[in-house]
Each structure stands twice: as C-alpha cells, then as structure tokens.
C-alpha cells in the first residue's frame, strides 16, 4: 500500500476545507480581530471552491483510496460521493452566509465557529465516501462533535446549553447503538466493508440484530419517530443558522450514507430477507404522521420547523424503502429531494435569522411576533412565502419536484400505500406552513410594531437570496440537477 501525493487528488475538496479550517483557527489565535466577518468570507470561499472542485470531477472515473478494490477501499470517491460532497458544501456555504450578523448579535462571534462548520462538512463528505462501516463511523463522529459544539455556542442562554447537552447525550446514545450494530454485523460476517457485506445472504439473527441497531443509530441522527424527541428542543435552543445547518446537513449526510449502505451493502440482503422493508416502512409512516401532527400544534416557529424537518425525514424514508426494493429512480429522487430541502429549509431559517431580536427569547419566535412583517419588509415576506410553499411541496418550487419524484419512485416500487401516506402528510403540512404566511400578511400589527432586523447584513441577504434562487431554479428547471443525481446513482452501479 503506497500512496503518492497525486493519488490524494480526489480528496482535494475535503482536504481544502481542512486546510481552511486550520488556517481559520491559527488566524484566530495569532491575528484575531474583534469582527469575524473575514472568517465567514474565508469559509464561504473555501466551501464554494470545494463545491466547484467536487462538481468539476463529476463524470471522471471512480477513485478508490487506500485500497485496491471495492472490498478493501475505505474511501470511495465516485460521482455519488462528489454530488453529495457538493450538496453538503452548499449547505455549509449558505449556513456560513447566514451566520456573521447573527453571531455578532447573539454574542458568539468566534472565528472557531466557521472552523467548526468546515470540520462538520468534512465529516459529512467522509460519510458520503465511506466504503466500510468504520470509515462511515469516523465521518459521522467528525460531523457530530463539531455540531455538538456549534449547538451550545450561545453559552449565556440556558436554552442553548440545554440543547447542546440534550443533543450530545442523545447523539452519544445513538452512536452507541450504531457502534454495537457495526460490531454485531462484523461478528456475523467477519467484515465491515460494504462491498463484502453485499455478498452475504441474510438469515443470521446476529446480522439482523446488527442491521436493526445500525438503523436505530440512523433514525436518531435524522430524527425519525420514535427517535425524534430531542429535535424540537435542540432546534429551538441552537443558534438559528446552526439549526438550519443541522436540519439540512446532518440529515443529508445521514440519508446519503444510508443510501450507499442500502445500495452497495446491506441492501442486497434486505431484498432476500426483507427485514429492512417492514422496519423502514413503519419508521416512515410513524415519522410522517407524528411529525406533521405535532407540527400542527406548535406555537413557536422554530419548533414548528423542527417537527416539519422530522416529517421530511419521513418522506425521505419512503424513498429509502423504494431504494431497498431495488427501484433505480429512488436514489436520485432522494438526492433531488435533499437538495431542494437544503435550500428551502436554510432559506426559512435565514428569514428567521433576519427577524431575530437582540433580546431573543422564545417570545420573538412565536407566530404572533411575525405579524405584519410581510408588509413591513416585502422582500422578506416574499422569500418566506416562497420557502413555505416549497416546504409544503407546491409548484413552481423545488419542493414540488422533490416530492413528485420521491412518491413516483415509491409507486414504481409498488409501495403505493406509502406514497399515499406521504401525500396525506403533505396535505396536513400545508396548514402549518400557510399559517406562517398568514402571520406574515394577515395578522393585526401590534403597537408598537415589531422592530427586528437587528441582524440585517449583506451576507445574510445574499444567503437568503441564494436559497430563494435555487428553490425557484429547481422548481422551474429541474432537469440539470436530475441529470446530476442520475449520474451519481449510476456510479453506484444502477
């Protein structure tokens, strides 16, 4: 096993981010300035460049790192990993744009903040490239530890500390389940490589138990019911841009890794054994129903978005079921959905960041606090309406095509009833998404009117505008991204 430097080139998008993150940390201690907007700019440039490098390499042959064939390469850089890396880098980029003014306002303007975002993105990239379960685990931990720290940054706010503690404890439990599952799978098959696992026929109870435990670990990370309890408190307490980043980045990385697992590893045994499909279907149905119903009754918009993100995990799980059934279009539907979900959710949290007030507190996040904002800040109102319509899955937005592709894949995989549950869930969700628009436009403006936008900044505007642009772009011209997701799935051998 000899590695020359040029052989590391496929890892460049990730290595670049590690370099920028270390640079940020060093700059912070040696030449730190009070205003860390420069750090945000550096992070954005790094993430943009990394995204560009990932996308540029799409179409080139698969690269296996630190191994000679699929069975022993811990890192697989194929189109699937490249598209996924670009997606998580985009999520980090928008999150970094949303952050500078918020961080200053909330008193956690540290250069390390952007370093942590970069490290988290690198972890997500490794998850998408993982060729065996241990590498996947390392990526997951790299991501998680950075996100735990980000969650607790508003140290003076008990809600933030509560969120960090809850997220950390829950995450640690989930990690325990996952690792134990990996151990059992190794015990049953004597391998952790996904390619080797694919050749195993299920049947050993040890393997089934291992898969189930790994699934529980995943369910925790994507906040699928019944492992969702932490989500609302954590989403509410974390700094708003971080909440957006968590909601999209962590979820995207987990689903991407699950997709690779289903396609190139355990999924093969899933088809013969079909232990996965009942478990995944039950998770999906529960997640959609519970997530949507609980989102209905929330009074706090951040908590509502938390439950909404739970329900979106449910829709995505439908796609995973279809993928486990061997439906080829399910994978590209999941990536498409994740991309549009990334932009609409980050956009929504961007608008919330705009409206965050100096004193903060749960009161400023209630529906009532947004009364009349639509007239006071027309552009902001338009953007929020767009994101809400997209989250509800209505045209002409990316959310519509995401749901369309996902449910079509489910019907093709002969899981029509799951698609119906998904559609029912989407119908419920229209109510609470429209409620935000109603608050923005149709509520009496209290006297004196709300005085938000303490956090207004050029970066924040750019972030929200980018998100809005892509939500519309994906809704009007979905073909380019669809082609990209198809080539990603092709590289998995479909």
């Amino acid at each position: 096993m000899s590695i020359s430097l040029p052989a590391l080139e496929p890892l460049l998008p990730g290595l670049l981010l590690v370099g920028v993150a270390i640079l940020l940390l060093m700059y912070e201690v040696f030449a730190g300035q009070a205003d860390r907007t420069y750090a945000a700019h550096l992070a954005v440039v790094g993430l943009g460049l990394s995204m560009f490098l990932s996308l540029k390499a799409v179409g080139t042959p698969r690269a296996l790192l630190f191994g000679t064939d699929l069975a022993n390469a811990p890192l697989i850089v194929d189109d699937f990993a490249r598209v996924a890396s670009a997606l998580v880098a985009a999520a980090g980029l928008v999150a970094a744009l949303l952050s500078p003014s918020y961080a200053k306002n909330a008193g956690h303007d540290h250069g390390e903040y952007y370093g942590l975002i970069l490290f988290a993105v690198v972890g997500m990239m490794i998850m998408s490239m993982a060729g065996d379960l241990m590498t996947f685990f390392l990526g997951l931990e790299t991501m998680s530890i950075a996100v735990y720290a980000l969650t607790g940054l508003r140290a003076h706010d008990p809600r933030s500390t509560e969120a960090a503690l809850k997220y950390f404890l829950m995450g640690a439990f989930a990690t325990g389940f996952l690792l134990f599952g990996i151990a059992l799978v190794y015990g049953a098959t004597a391998s952790v490589s996904l390619a080797t696992l694919a050749t195993f026929k299920a049947g050993s109870p040890l393997l089934t138990l291992g898969i189930a435990l790994i699934l529980i670990g995943f369910a925790f990370k994507v906040a699928a019911v019944p492992f969702h309890m932490w989500a609302p408190d954590v989403y509410e307490g974390a700094p708003t841009p971080v909440t957006g980043f968590m909601a999209v980045g962590v979820k995207a990385a987990a689903f991407i890794a699950l997709l690779r697992l289903v396609h190139s590893g355990l999924g093969v045994s899933a088809q013969t054994d079909s232990t996965w499909i009942p478990i995944l279907s039950a998770l999906a149905v529960l997640t959609i129903l519970v997530g949507n119903v609980l989102a209905l009754v929330q009074q706090n918009v951040k908590r509502m978005l938390a439950y909404s993100s739970v329900s979106h995990a449910g829709y995505l799980l439908i796609g995973v079921v279809a993928a486990a059934r061997g439906e080829a279009s399910a994978g590209s539907a999941i990536i498409f959905y994740l991309t549009s979900y990334t932009f609409m959710t980050l956009g929504a949290f961007g608008v919330l960041t705009f409206l965050e007030r100096k004193e903060g507190g749960p009161e400023s996040e209630r529906y009532g606090a947004f009364a009349g904002i639509g007239f006071r800040h027309p552009a902001l109102g338009m953007a929020m309406s767009l994101f809400m319509v997209a989250l509800a899955g209505m045209p002409p937005t990316g959310g519509f095509f995401g749901k369309l592709y996902l449910f079509t894949a489910a019907i093709r995989a002969e899981e029509t009833w799951l698609a119906l549950v998904g559609i029912a869930g989407s119908l419920i969700s229209v109510y609470y998404y429209l409620r935000v628009i109603v608050a923005f436009y149709m509520r009496e403006v209290p006297e004196p009117g709300p005085t938000p936008t303490a956090t207004r900044s050029a970066q924040l505007t750019l972030g929200v505008a980018l998100a809005a642009f892509f939500v519309l772009q994906l809704g009007l011209f979905p073909a380019p991204l669809l082609a990209l997701t198809k080539s990603a799935m092709l590289s998995l051998g479909l």
Partner: protein
C-alpha cells in the same frame, strides 16, 4: 451461539453475586438508628452558606492531557511497523503530527494552559 450462551452464564453469575452480597448486608447488618446518625455529615464544621463559585482549573488541563495522550496511542503501532510502511507511512505520520502540533499551538495561544 454456544459461546454466547457461556457469556450469558457469566453475566448471570455476576448479577447473582451482587444480589447475594446485597441481600446479606440487608438481612444480617445491625441497624441502630439514633437522631445524630440521621443528620447530614459535616466533618465537625459548622454548616455555612457557600455562595461563591470555585473555578476548577484542573479540568481543562486534564482534558487536554487525555486528548493528546490519546493521539500518542497512534504512534506506538506506527513505530512498530515503521520500516514496512516506508515513506508513505513517514509522510502520513508527519502530516498527522503536524495537525496535532497546530492543535497544541492553538491551545497554547488560546491561553488554555495558563493557570491563572
């Protein structure tokens, strides 16, 4: 599955011993209660209000020690097969240790090693 059964027996014995020991102390141990025994133990001091915070300086140093100590664990297996790994192994370890060193520089400059 036979070997796992033995493991279960081990767990059973461990739980059994704990249960038996606990049962013995509960049933055989003498219990003479008096009011003084029910009071909180204060080691001879008068109970007083402590309402200032005490800074625990040691924890961060201890934490950092564990962190860097864990990283050195990787050096041992590397040193054993150093010759077989060749230059690849050398440069891999150089890059690993450099990142580690930058971490130390960060911690140092951040003031985490200052006692006061």
């Amino acid at each position: 599955m036979h070997s796992y059964g033995l493991l279960l027996v081990l767990f059973g014995i461990a739980a059994g011993i704990a249960t038996i020991l606990y049962a013995i102390t509960v049933t055989l141990g003498p219990r003479a209660r008096n009011p003084t025994k029910d009071e909180p133990f204060e080691c001879g001091n008068i109970v007083k209000q402590v309402n200032h915070r005490v800074s625990v300086k040691f924890y961060i140093v201890a934490l950092l020690f564990i962190l860097f100590d864990m990283e050195t664990v990787f050096l041992y297996p590397w040193a054993v097969i150093y010759r077989d790994l060749g230059w690849t192994g050398f440069w891999a370890m150089i890059s690993f240790v450099s990142v580690l060193m930058l971490g130390l520089v960060y911690v140092w400059k951040k003031g985490a090693l200052d006692w006061d």
